[in-house]
Symmetry: C2
Subunit: 417 residues, 2 copies
Amino acid sequence: MIEKTVLANGVRVLTERLPQAFSVTMGLWVEVGSRDEDPPRSGISHFIEHMAFKGTERRSPLDIAREIDRLGGQANAFTSKENTCFHARALAARLSELSDLLIDLLLHPAYHPEELERERQVILQEISYQEDTPDDLVHVLFGQNFWPGHPLGRPVLGSTESVAHIDRRTILHYQRQHYQPEGLVISAVGNLEHQQVVDLVGEALGSLPMAPRSRQRSAAQSRPGLHVVPRPLEQVHMVLGHQAPSAVDPERFAAALLNLILGGNMSSRLFQEVREKRGLAYSVYSFLSAYSDSGALGVYLGVAPNRAAEALRVARGEVERLAVGPVSDQELADAKENLTGSILLSAENPETRMSRLARNEINFGKDIPLEEVVSQVEEVSADDVSRLAAQLLTPGELSATILGAATADDLTREMGA
Amino acid sequence: MIEKTVLANGVRVLTERLPQAFSVTMGLWVEVGSRDEDPPRSGISHFIEHMAFKGTERRSPLDIAREIDRLGGQANAFTSKENTCFHARALAARLSELSDLLIDLLLHPAYHPEELERERQVILQEISYQEDTPDDLVHVLFGQNFWPGHPLGRPVLGSTESVAHIDRRTILHYQRQHYQPEGLVISAVGNLEHQQVVDLVGEALGSLPMAPRSRQRSAAQSRPGLHVVPRPLEQVHMVLGHQAPSAVDPERFAAALLNLILGGNMSSRLFQEVREKRGLAYSVYSFLSAYSDSGALGVYLGVAPNRAAEALRVARGEVERLAVGPVSDQELADAKENLTGSILLSAENPETRMSRLARNEINFGKDIPLEEVVSQVEEVSADDVSRLAAQLLTPGELSATILGAATADDLTREMGA
């Protein structure tokens, strides 16, 4: 059972009672992420997320670490392009401790100057770590090339340069600007009562002064092109992508099925052509990145340098085949069964349920029951998928980023450029 | 409720009924892994696991992929140093389909010569992928240096050379030798009945001819030393390790607490000293690798090249401090609370429960109830942990593997060599 209370200042509190669970999972979601940053402050949302764990007015950093560990160690946070989330899971009897800790992290970070300098070094190491992980890095580089100059294209972590220069005053200002009641969603699921959660969070969060957010977001337009980033690696890591529907677009169900048919599962065209029939890659998949107003449908492959041109040709071939040819009834039926099955199976996971609850509120302002999602998926026709494919997967609109020991010449030929 | 049936030929069937679940999770465990290989066949256990998905007598590779996807896409397999496991999760109503598929993958792989050659290329790409992922690779290199010449030290994936040469006849022979009834454990949890599972798997698995396995395993002895693998990376990735208790050693509870206190959580000494106080690393942790007769307690750090020597000094210092100094009552109480909390929380995950059920059978021949584990953890004293630390963490026994842009000279000095 899902319940919702909106506090007087606009904070939304959502709960889903799962009476058979023995744990509770809570997430404090702030509608701010890297797309709300300008280039000099690139990475500031993520920096603020890190600083939450570095001391509050009442707790030292060590107090926070100890408290998290004593709750079972399942508290963490993440920053994405659109959201920042502080979340934790604990035994049901410890809901009030968990809630007290998360609220303190959210509302009262101390931003000690010394802690800030040390955490800057930690984040710079996180950036270095990403730089050393090519199948991660290639997605970051792809984003920059796909949406050049647009905030959605910038990395969540920021750059070495921007992170080096973000100062305490800028952090305080940005946090005040974006951590506003109307942008806060509290989502809790598990063995709990709605009123219990409202009582626990209501006082601290309900007393936040109301202030309108001055947030400006605009849809992104992708740019086609080929970008080769040479690096002496064992594999060539490629991401190819096209513009796709947003997370709230009525076409999102057709897009999800299109993604599955293209490369989203084992029986997909790409997995079969690239891995099963040709043994070109260990890792090959397509993915859908859907934001509030923009989206990308991409393909990743990691292949041997001497087969990079062949792999690019095959992957492009499959993308184009979907753009111009039909989707069979069998393919569509299989993709629907896969999608609805995985949606229902994932609903058994409390963290997934907590995220679903928050994301539906953020995206639609209401819950979308699982049954409704399943029935919308069932309504998509093969023609709907083909039409969407034809619209999105225009060869001239392809953006490709290739990282590794590849020569631009061979690849340019494969791109038909 | 946990139930166990041993078929006439020795196959063990274990189930745990979770009446409130709406899914079922099943794992077919074979007691064979990379430690059962000799150097020319390094990677053959993992190769066999891959081939299970490449066609059986009744199913083409595409049939298998489609069936997995239609079940919700949550079927997979993994190979470790000691086990190979084929597992899947699906809605409860689909238990018989899931079971039929997994048994077919286990018992009737076709090993088509063409599929074998293609899959060889896929695995070679998997090895290249690992080679490009330094925080993964450094663990593989550490294993080789820690247990040199011993099967436990060899990589699960094998080497480019060994994988290039494994042929069909060798695979058939190895599979016959190791996929024996007495080494099979079937573990199923969720909304199911024990007898239902026995009925589903009994006929196919119960009719396997009995044959004793000719398996030879011997405990591994670690070798101390410093190994620097130069590579032009943004970070220096280090693993430092000592010998540790096995998975069945009565000292395993003390070892688990020692690991948490050293670097297993946020309030641990290493996390606090390396990340929180000095900002040296984004990723720093200790880990326990416990096998049936051997174990390792290790530390991982990813740091900037110009601070590698300092990081090594700090990490070594914390390891030595634990070897010679006391563990406080507070530290111990916190570690116990963290351990028991995380054990109880993980029990809500059906995949974790399925693994626990199988691993307890493989390691102990019986179920170890969670309450018993918790009470054994509670019985460990601070002296027990200190004594174990003093015994394991001898400075002269340290084995270190360092990957990145580091010079052996600086590091050798830090190693006191």
